[in-house]
Amino acid sequence: MESLTNIVAMTVLWATLTTLIVLILAIPLGYSLARYDFYGKQVLATLTSLPLVLPPTAVGYLLLRLLADDGALGFLDALLSWKGILIACSIMSLPLVVRTARVSFEGVDPRLEQMSRTLGRSRWQTFRAITLPLASRGLIAAAILGFTRAMGEFGATIIVAGNIPGRTQTLASAIYSAQQSGNTQRANLLLLVALLVGFVAVFLSEWLSRPAKGGRA
């Protein structure tokens, strides 16, 4: 049986990597959805939110088909590996992170960005000096939400990556295994760790979501 510390450490590592991947995608996506009107905007917004309403097993099955040797993403060789965990967790976390990032960017008065441009700063310089700092609390909250979602992901992950102790077992799948095998003590301990991590993350997220300076009236 894999050690508890190892399971928690690996789960935290995978959740952290997932959060980084998702932030790289969610920041430009959230900003574009908040600031621009473009062709296909509604479709893009719907697609990014879709994993939120689909059963995780459905997402897992779809990924399984795509990542299979004969699938469109078969070259990634991600099935039953840590890569599969990152892909499944990223897809499942993306909607929450994009939505929170979008709201954070919408909370930054676009006229402040315009002022920055008139003062000689380019679009990118303005994004770094004005938009990002003013949206930062919301973005940190988004990252925490993404992290907790990745920590707790089960349905899609188990289909794509399996539940291989020492290789692809996460906190969520370890609880499932412990409960299935009747190891109540281990299941309770894992539950306690999951509760603790979840509480701290959501508390931080709520605290960071307080109204910030520079929000639109």
Binding site: D109, R111, L112, Q114, M115, S116, R117, T118, L119, G120, R121, S122, A129, I130, P133, L134, K213, G214
Partner: protein, 363 residues
């Protein structure tokens, strides 16, 4: 004929009308006057590059910012324009100093310019967050931020509109000082004739997106089509002078150089002898006398000559030049009966009677 400095031609569809401007001016400080919704702010935003017009040509001196015929439209950061919006829009996560320094990367001598701006706008305690600044300080930081960016032109959108009456009296002198110290072309948009009289050499009046008059402030504001909206809150005459002397209860303001020229008696001020003061006098607080009157409580009696008499909406608007003063003539509101009874005509010599307490001092 001198070269046109400002060239503003633009066409932009608005919700209620099409903004169509075609004007030019040699003035360094140009004003745009009009009621709310007349397209003033849209015009400024177009010039600043925040709302490109459908067609047109926007330039100031040698700088061409937009030319639809050449498919030229510079980005806002390429225009070198300092824009001061009505709401100030200071960056909330930066201190007052960081706000001032935000645009200094494009100025030639940033440190010296920052020092000059701090001195002219009388700024202090700059390391405070901006939510600890008063309304007047915010306005001055917004002006300073635009100036510190070393702009080729400065756009001011309703610079006093967001301030209460007391703050307006305090901030206007800063704007006047700024105009004098920084030799930058300025475009000032306002619905307040007083601001435009104080700052502008030339004024354009807009209505429903079109130019209806252009000229010196006094010419535009006494235009029969405009006086009604310019005097909605009571027309104010603006004068500047230098403090000549103080007595126990009053201050004498010289309206012309020298010790013997015409002067105004104001309520006692604290300004130093010789220092400049800007004052305003409501047009309906000035009395006209055609003969000598004795035993009068009003402290000011200025000899003047009537230059213009117009009847507008039941009121007679008279402009009179104060003898011995080069400044803009004063506007006086009278009733038609008064004109008839006093037999006032163009060129008549009259005395303007003004109470000291009717004079507002901007300091």
């Amino acid at each position: 004929m001198s070269e046109q400095r400002w060239q503003i031609r633009l066409q932009l569809q608005q919700q209620q009308f099409t903004l169509k401007l075609d004007c030019s001016s040699t003035a360094r400080v140009l004003g745009i006057f009009g009621p709310s919704g007349s397209g003033k702010t849209t015009c400024l935003e177009s010039i600043a590059g925040l709302r490109p017009p459908a067609a047109g040509y926007l330039a100031c001196g040698k700088y061409i910012w937009f030319d639809s015929k050449q498919a030229l439209s510079l980005h806002p950061e390429q225009r070198g324009i300092g824009y001061v919006p009505q709401e100030h829009l200071l960056f909330p996560h930066l201190s007052a100093r960081q706000n001032l320094q935000y645009g200094t990367q494009r100025s030639q001598d940033a440190a010296a310019l920052l020092q000059e701006v701090i001195e002219v706008l009388d700024l202090s305690n700059l390391d405070r967050p901006i939510d600890q600044l008063s309304g007047g300080e915010r306005q001055r930081i917004a002006l300073g931020r635009a100036l510190c960016s070393g702009p080729q032109a400065l756009l001011l959108d309703e610079p006093l509109a967001s301030l209460d009456a007391t703050l307006r009296l305090r901030i206007l002198p800063f704007l006047i000082k700024m105009r004098q110290r920084f030799n930058i072309p300025m475009l000032v948009v306002s619905h307040n004739p007083l601001e435009l009289q104080a700052l502008c050499d030339d004024v354009i009046a807009l209505r429903n997106g079109e130019v209806i008059a252009q000229g010196t402030p006094i010419t535009v504001f006494t235009n029969s089509d405009i006086y009604g909206s310019a005097s909605a809150e009571g027309f104010e005459n603006l004068l500047t002078g230098n403090v000549r002397e103080h007595t126990a209860h009053s201050t004498s303001l010289a309206l012309a150089p020298g010790q013997t020229g015409p002067s105004l008696t104001l309520l006692r001020q604290n300004s130093a002898i010789g220092s400049p003061l800007t004052i305003s006098i409501p047009a309906n607080d000035i009395l006209i006398a055609t003969e000598s009157i004795h035993g009068l409580s009003a402290r000011n009696r200025l000899p003047a000559t009537i230059q213009q008499i117009q009847t507008l909406a039941g009121k007679v608007i008279l402009t009179a030049a104060i003898k011995g003063v080069q400044a803009t003539p004063l506007v006086v509101e009278l009733t038609p009966d008064a004109i008839e009874e006093l037999n006032l005509t163009l060129g008549s010599a009259v005395d303007l009677i003004i109470k000291s307490s009717s004079i507002a001092v901007y300091s």
